[in-house]
């Protein structure tokens, strides 16, 4: 169990490509940190630097109280689960789990004990003599987890471990990973591009983009107060609607003809300054024509999701999506009048994408 600290960590590849541009954060002992971002944002590189599979160009990574920049992966006291599991195809499940311990010179009875224990936790006791190719995707995933557990590491590293599984299994394994991490109390770093995994697993969410950290926080916080337009559109599904607007006074923005209240708007902005207004599809409420702050929404088509419906259409000429519980809005195309809770109006700088909030 240990705290992981990253201090201004950078990665520059030969050829000058900056994959990670100075990242600083720490993960408390036993914390579950998820690095999320689009492909190529540097999240995997960052994880691999913590693992010791990539050299660190500058900055410092420490695990516990020890700086590990120059420490070999095997000596960092970490365990990693790979996207394609990376099980040794020619070894039995038992040997796959025992291999790392054998290399460390762990006594035989201790290896036996730990492997049996891990197999019991993961419900793969009956598979120990099989080869990886005889296992299903979910079972391989468990073996890969088992290989990590038996080492009793300070830190678990997960590199998109669920992306090779089908949707149903992914949800199931997601829950199991979280339970397991809680039960073992091991610090975890988890890389994913799936924002649902990111939201559900993390107690510290790190959103990355272009080699930089966009926002760090509790998942609910990141969802409620996205620090930038990028985070706003990346976290949440369907993504947040972004509409051009302008400042119309303290706490008030204009969106075309309509004037709406935005409680979190910074107060030092000049009237008429252009802004971008973000509205989450699930925050939209139905209003009536003429009601203060109501917006005209022209519905073009409706997507059925079962419990909810997605209304696609145009608002002030811009594409717009609204989500509502099935039956809440009579499903039909045409004009709807909508409104948004002033607490749920997000305003961003159109140039930098930074949130124009009260701080």
């Amino acid at each position: 169990m240990a705290q992981v600290t990253l201090n201004n960590v950078k990665k520059v590849y030969a050829g000058g490509v900056e994959a990670v541009k100075g990242v600083t954060f720490d993960i408390p002992d036993g914390g579950f940190c998820v690095l999320v971002g689009p492909s190529g944002c540097g999240k995997s590189t960052l994880l691999r630097m913590v693992a010791g599979l990539e050299t660190i160009t500058s900055g410092e990574v420490s695990i516990g109280s020890r700086t590990v920049n120059q420490v070999e992966p095997a000596d960092r006291d970490i365990a990693m689960v790979f996207q394609n599991y990376a099980l040794y195809p020619h070894m039995s499940v038992y040997d796959n789990m025992a291999y790392g311990l054998r290399n460390r010179g762990t006594p035989k009875h201790e290896i036996e004990k730990r492997v049996r224990e891990a197999a019991k936790i993961l419900a793969i006791e009956t598979l120990l003599e099989r080869r990886p190719r005889q296992l299903s995707g979910g079972q391989r995933q468990r073996v890969a987890m088992g290989r990590a557990i038996v080492r009793k590491p300070q830190v678990f590293l997960f590199d998109e471990p669920l992306s090779n599984l089908d949707a149903k299994l992914r949800v199931q394994m997601r829950v199991e990973i979280k339970k397991l991490q809680r039960a073992l109390g091991v610090t975890a770093i988890y890389v994913t591009h799936d924002q649902v995994e990111a939201m559900t697993l993390s107690d510290k969410l790190v959103v990355m983009n272009g080699g930089q950290v966009e926002q760090i926080g509790l998942p609910a916080e990141v969802y409620r107060k996205p620090a930038s337009k990028f985070v706003a559109t990346f976290i949440g599904s369907p993504p947040m609607n972004i509409l051009p607007g302008a400042v119309d006074g303290p706490g008030i923005v204009a969106l075309g003809e309509a004037i709406i209240e935005a409680r979190d708007l910074r107060e030092d902005l000049a009237e008429g300054a252009p802004v971008e207004i973000g509205l989450r599809p699930e925050d939209i409420e139905i209003a009536s024509e003429g009601q203060a702050g109501s917006l005209p929404f022209d519905v073009e088509f409706i997507e059925e999701l079962g419990a909810t419906q997605l209304f696609h259409g145009k608002l002030g000429g811009q594409p717009f999506v609204m989500q509502a519980a099935t039956g809440e809005v009579s499903a039909q195309e045409g004009r709807l009048w909508i409104a948004v809770d002033p607490d749920k109006v997000h305003v961003f700088d159109p140039k930098t994408g930074v949130r124009l909030g009260k701080g």
Binding site: A51, G52, L53, E72, P73, A74, D75, I78, A79, M80, F82, Q83, N84, A86, L87, Y88, P89, H90, Y99, G100, N103, R104, P132, R133, R147
Partner: protein, 282 residues
């Protein structure tokens, strides 16, 4: 569409059977000739069934030798051929698996240059560089030795290429998982790479063993002593005799014996081969 499958099958079987007969007939004839006495073979009226001299002929050729050209018993030549073929096959596997490992997994300066230099040797088989190679071998006093027979034939790029291509299909994550599991470069090689390469090794072994066993030109050059002759050379020597009758029954028996080891190797390795092909998964 309804096909007459039975007629199709019948035609296929007939054609295949004819093919097998064409291939097998000379082998059968060789075997039959090795079981008659010299006069029956030579007078041109040899029957197509085995004769009564099987044990006599094989006993004579294995442990005594012909009366004229080759002198030494064939068992010794088979031993020479076997040593040479094994040395070439194993030596080549050893060298090429190591060089491919270096080229694929290590980032050293001029790595690609090293690879291309190895690659270029494909254009320089023994036949092309035979004089310089002979000179080197003779300067190193390796004429009439097993080293002299095998070493120059070990050096070639085919094996390296084969292993390089195979290693490049192994996912990098396996290497990374090994690193995290505390396996150094040698342990990764021994515990992961070699077990995964078994089928490739078996394939290379079959090819190289047969290549080594069938060598004619090189052994002819570097061996002068009767005791160092290989069996392939012996067959040729037995047939071309300037001043004596060719002992065809003995030459044919030698040919039969020369065929056996490669056949055994193919049969033995075929099982591993198929097993590997079916089971391989990365």
């Amino acid at each position: 569409m309804v096909e007459d499958r039975r007629l199709g099958d019948l035609i296929a079987y007939v054609i295949l059977t004819i093919g097998v007969l064409i291939v097998a007939f000379p082998v059968w004839l060789t075997f039959v000739a090795s079981t008659w006495d010299a006069s029956t073979v030579i007078n041109g009226q040899m029957p197509l069934y085995p004769g009564p001299y099987f044990f006599e002929n094989y006993n004579r050729i294995l442990f005594v030798g012909t009366s004229s050209t080759t002198r030494e018993p064939v068992i010794g030549m088979m031993f020479n051929s076997f040593v040479m073929a094994m040395a070439i096959a194993l030596g080549k596997i050893f060298i090429s698996v190591l060089s491919a490992y270096a080229v694929v997994y290590y980032r050293f300066p001029f790595r690609m240059a090293a690879f291309w230099i190895i690659f270029i040797t494909l254009m320089l088989p023994v036949e092309v560089r035979i004089f310089p190679t002979f000179k080197i071998v003779s300067d190193l006093r390796m004429l009439d030795t097993y080293q002299g027979l095998a070493v120059p034939l070990i050096a070639s790029a085919t094996g390296t290429l084969l292993f390089r291509q195979f290693f490049m299909t192994i996912p990098d994550e396996l290497l990374e998982a090994s690193k995290i599991d505390g396996a150094g470069p040698f342990k990764f090689f021994k515990d992961t790479l070699l077990p995964l390469s078994i089928t490739t090794i078996a394939a290379l072994f079959v090819i190289q063993f047969i290549y080594g066993w069938n060598q004619y030109l090189w052994p002819l050059l570097v061996t002068t002593k009767d005791s160092m002759q290989t069996i392939v050379i012996a067959i040729k020597k037995m047939i071309v005799t300037a001043d004596a009758l060719t002992e065809w029954q003995l030459a044919m028996a030698t040919a039969m014996l020369a065929m056996l080891p490669p056949v055994f190797v193919v049969i033995a390795m075929q099982r591993l081969f198929v097993k590997g092909l079916v089971e391989t998964e990365k």
